[in-house]
Symmetry: D2
Amino acid sequence: MNENTKKDMNVRTDLATEAREMVNQSRTAEKEIEGVSYSEKKEESFTVSKVIVDEIGAEKIGKKPGTYRTIYSDAIKKQDTKLQQQTARVLAKELSQIMNECGIDSNASGLIVGLGNRNVTPDALGPIVMDKILVTNHLFVHEPSYVKDGYRRVSTIVPGVMGVTGIETSELIHGIIKEIKPDFVIAIDALASRSIERVNATIQLSDTGIHPGSGVGNTRKEISQETLGIPVIAIGVPTVVDAVTIASDAMDYVLKHIGRELEEIDRPSKALAPGGMVFGKKVLTKKDMPTKDRQETILGMFGTLKETEKRALMQEVLTPLGHNLMVTPKEIDGYIKDMAHLIAEATNASLHENVTLDNFGSYTR
Amino acid sequence: MNENTKKDMNVRTDLATEAREMVNQSRTAEKEIEGVSYSEKKEESFTVSKVIVDEIGAEKIGKKPGTYRTIYSDAIKKQDTKLQQQTARVLAKELSQIMNECGIDSNASGLIVGLGNRNVTPDALGPIVMDKILVTNHLFVHEPSYVKDGYRRVSTIVPGVMGVTGIETSELIHGIIKEIKPDFVIAIDALASRSIERVNATIQLSDTGIHPGSGVGNTRKEISQETLGIPVIAIGVPTVVDAVTIASDAMDYVLKHIGRELEEIDRPSKALAPGGMVFGKKVLTKKDMPTKDRQETILGMFGTLKETEKRALMQEVLTPLGHNLMVTPKEIDGYIKDMAHLIAEATNASLHENVTLDNFGSYTR
Amino acid sequence: MNENTKKDMNVRTDLATEAREMVNQSRTAEKEIEGVSYSEKKEESFTVSKVIVDEIGAEKIGKKPGTYRTIYSDAIKKQDTKLQQQTARVLAKELSQIMNECGIDSNASGLIVGLGNRNVTPDALGPIVMDKILVTNHLFVHEPSYVKDGYRRVSTIVPGVMGVTGIETSELIHGIIKEIKPDFVIAIDALASRSIERVNATIQLSDTGIHPGSGVGNTRKEISQETLGIPVIAIGVPTVVDAVTIASDAMDYVLKHIGRELEEIDRPSKALAPGGMVFGKKVLTKKDMPTKDRQETILGMFGTLKETEKRALMQEVLTPLGHNLMVTPKEIDGYIKDMAHLIAEATNASLHENVTLDNFGSYTR
Amino acid sequence: MNENTKKDMNVRTDLATEAREMVNQSRTAEKEIEGVSYSEKKEESFTVSKVIVDEIGAEKIGKKPGTYRTIYSDAIKKQDTKLQQQTARVLAKELSQIMNECGIDSNASGLIVGLGNRNVTPDALGPIVMDKILVTNHLFVHEPSYVKDGYRRVSTIVPGVMGVTGIETSELIHGIIKEIKPDFVIAIDALASRSIERVNATIQLSDTGIHPGSGVGNTRKEISQETLGIPVIAIGVPTVVDAVTIASDAMDYVLKHIGRELEEIDRPSKALAPGGMVFGKKVLTKKDMPTKDRQETILGMFGTLKETEKRALMQEVLTPLGHNLMVTPKEIDGYIKDMAHLIAEATNASLHENVTLDNFGSYTR
């Protein structure tokens, strides 16, 4: 998880789809943001979306230029093993495509990086996935006769986080890459989302590299095609929402909720105050439907604040309570284990031709 | 953690001090609630409070009649080992007093119960403490010559939670108590709090028994002096706040925050709008100081809701997002380990005369 | 793991097949031991054997009368996921048969007991399996409409070990059974074996009940059909060999090894001392083939000791070094996880009609 | 743990004292081995020994030239917290001395390396110690004003093992050292011993560098003053004995044991065969006291084998059973935790002037 995520949570998200949505929300026109293309395919239990960002779009939504694929699936939250296997297949397919687009051929050697802190459950995704990646590099070096066709050279590293190691994570990775000289890098990390619905339900793949611990404009630390000359693919899963988000969003939910309730006022079954909805000391009627203008009625001056102002205010009031508050489902320990298994299965299948979508389990432990 | 905590979070808290405060907040007069006595001693780094509730008070604040002691200390959150040792001493002293008041003599045999779910970090406090309790019961039975004076018979049990075992936790404990026949019970559990400040910073001791998994008026399941005829002491630590609390409280913090800002308007150093504070599209002045009446200006109709109405509304809007959301500090894994160590040390010292405040560590592993 | 296993390791093993073999080894005739019937079926990757012991046989081999089924499979040690799934199927079939033989019908409610110490890796099998058992009892009680046909009432308990709880494990289980009143019990436990080849490769099922912590003739503590009036099935897996075994057996391997070497002396490819094998200062020839008589040549007076004398001597010399030495494979942590998964899958399938051999994974997490 | 330890276990040990002893055992004369100096101080509960090896000695005992200090203490095995604290003090003192001798001044920056496999309990010592090391490097870089006098720059790394990462551990460390440029390195690792008595009871410190995964004469992989130009201190603790050792040593114990028994034959209290000891079919008398010559009587031709021949034979017979067998105490999980805490405390105190022997705990979590 990006160690600086907290600091500027009010202006950014780790997910490109969210960044795009945020910009869209504050716009009146309906057409797509300049420099950002968006497509989406829905299947029964999945939505796979693709956001392509160019230099212009990058500035608009605050995300690096490149391709971002997002798989949305309830498989983990529903604890549905079959659906998880299907999701792994979808992920394997998308990852293979992004590897093709990056020009990674079947003999290229890969370094897989598990970012995050093993001792903080929602941040342990990367390290746990690493435990399940099929590594082969040492066999190619020490027992080449043992390696069959259909496998590539794969090694893994769990760099830890700066608070534990004392070392900039990106420096560490740079040092290792210089020594190991892989042909490409795949990094797996837990992300922060602005939406509790996306937590443990969204997997983002991108070809834009990683910036562990990066602050503002610190390109030296970036790990990407630009800085290293090799493809760097990032796989990220939001596993927490910060407390600022939940508090700030709750107010929006209040507005939406009141809107829905008021919509239903005329339905016969609704037993409310005649023609209205009791809300505190007042009775709201359909004319109070929360539009921009009437938000003030319901939420007062708070209702007139812009999204960013609201978040800034929340941050200001919540910070003294402990700035590292996070919101997770109570079942997070189980979710992380399942998600790690799913990602490891898909990654192993994408890395090695001989690990197909049907012999998944035999390789991932 | 009480498995039904979530269901009625809007009307209850596991902490008696919080229950008392909540009732106090909605009262205008200043004198103490009838049937509830409160005292408090502050030391440099601790506050120890004592709430005594009688039958009348029980009805007022929704807590069983009995004595509730609360130790407030920042030791865990500050990761300050010395302060943690001091807190353990305070806890040992309070626990010894409550054991005395319950008439537990130095030969009485104790069953220590670690409630909660070992696989959910913030709920694992009870099970982890059990790993560190000095048990002696089997030595008294099988190797009596090995047991020196100054120790009592102590055994432990980790009953698990109903979602994992399929068995009502209280039934399980009843079955074990009937078989083992201890002279008293101490139960240790993670609690829910309504205040993020109290999380991992408050230890509550009470002589009122435990009600694991209890719902409405289900006394059969209660484990207490009344139902079992032996003293049942509960030690509880709030380790989570639910998302409803954080969202609902955030609004109160907004009001308090604006109040503080407005207070400072006249101070020379404050560079604001002349005589006021910019808030969204408006300028607030001292006359907008958030009193009961003016909350509506700032928070609209939402500001006019009562505490319980606000929570009910939040619950309604947050539930569809996943009803098991919890708010914890990111450092929860480390906090739980430290807190478990602290409680085990204090409990061991209170249980055995030979384990004194100075040889703590030698017994607790 | 039986807490007293160590004490009398020289006279007993937890596996009935081993007990039978030990008696067989010391006999000259070839026919089966009286009161013990043995059958075996070999399939490609498994051997399933069945030992039926009656009252007479019980005395001869020191195992309770009843039926013992043993599945031998390399699946775990080979880390072969497919073979593990096949083994789970075989186990499910055998477990279903033993349940039928015990007269357990499809509506009978079961209590599944995970014996052993969660904090000692090779003894943690039972507790880890419990984490993966599909429990339903609470749903039958609290949400009966939620339970579909094809499921029975199942609950689980992890009683811990006496050294940690201070309570006799069997007393604890008795207390719980009296309160919960299940129709049958299945207990899962890690065992000790006398053979390193069987460790993590053998699963024993029996209908003879369990005797956790039992010593000599202490029937009060037995948990069995006789003491409780309900079927008690035990599933056990050897996960350690004690150091006495490895040391004592090593000598036998030395003899066997020399035998094999001498056998090959005449083969043309063998380049040894002409017609013999160099061993220390001597040259062994075919006439030294280790028969009973000639063991003394090779192992001296040690070679003349009986099996039990050898073990007693080893015990005497190794005890001062630390009486809790155990021998395990270095990969034990991974083996235990896989074995727990395998057993949980098979048990879930045997317990619930609706959990079939093809939807295993969807229920076991 | 050295990944190649197993391969040549019959010729080497990780402990210099053991290597010296082994050479001494096969010599008749009593004076010290040429090129090896040995000194020892015994205190009540500790023995601290110092072996200095020069180029000549290195060849004789198969250990690199340099200084090896060994602390022997029962503190962990006895689970005696006070004694563990005393051991930590002794270790801190010895580590400070070795740092002084290496010319490491109080401002030198250190990289602490935790070798071993986190997921294999007896090999997890290094990684667990790293969780408890006080790191400061990032504070010096990012928040220099926050760092007080009395602290040096410290960072840590857990490189993993080749079987998991696919990368030679030494390559990884080389890459990191080149990037981070520390002034010195301290590496912490679990070792193999040839003596079960030394397991979890011995801490070795040396200034000879580390050779993770090194085989014969592979200097490229060495991490030492010679290859890097900076001091490399190794702290190692034996946590396992291999099965070959236990089996081979058991025979020696048999001989010693018989010797002791025969010694006592004339004591009045000894009720044996008149003037002798029954052993199998024979009666041993004092004249059979196991001297070199008479070992054959007791152990046959096996008794005539040299130490290395015995080990080679054991290896040959045990290998087919699973070449990764290890012998550990059953309590290994607890021992490793305690040992990690002890080493982290001592290391923190040696690294930072401000962490004294009296405020240990406040820094180590």
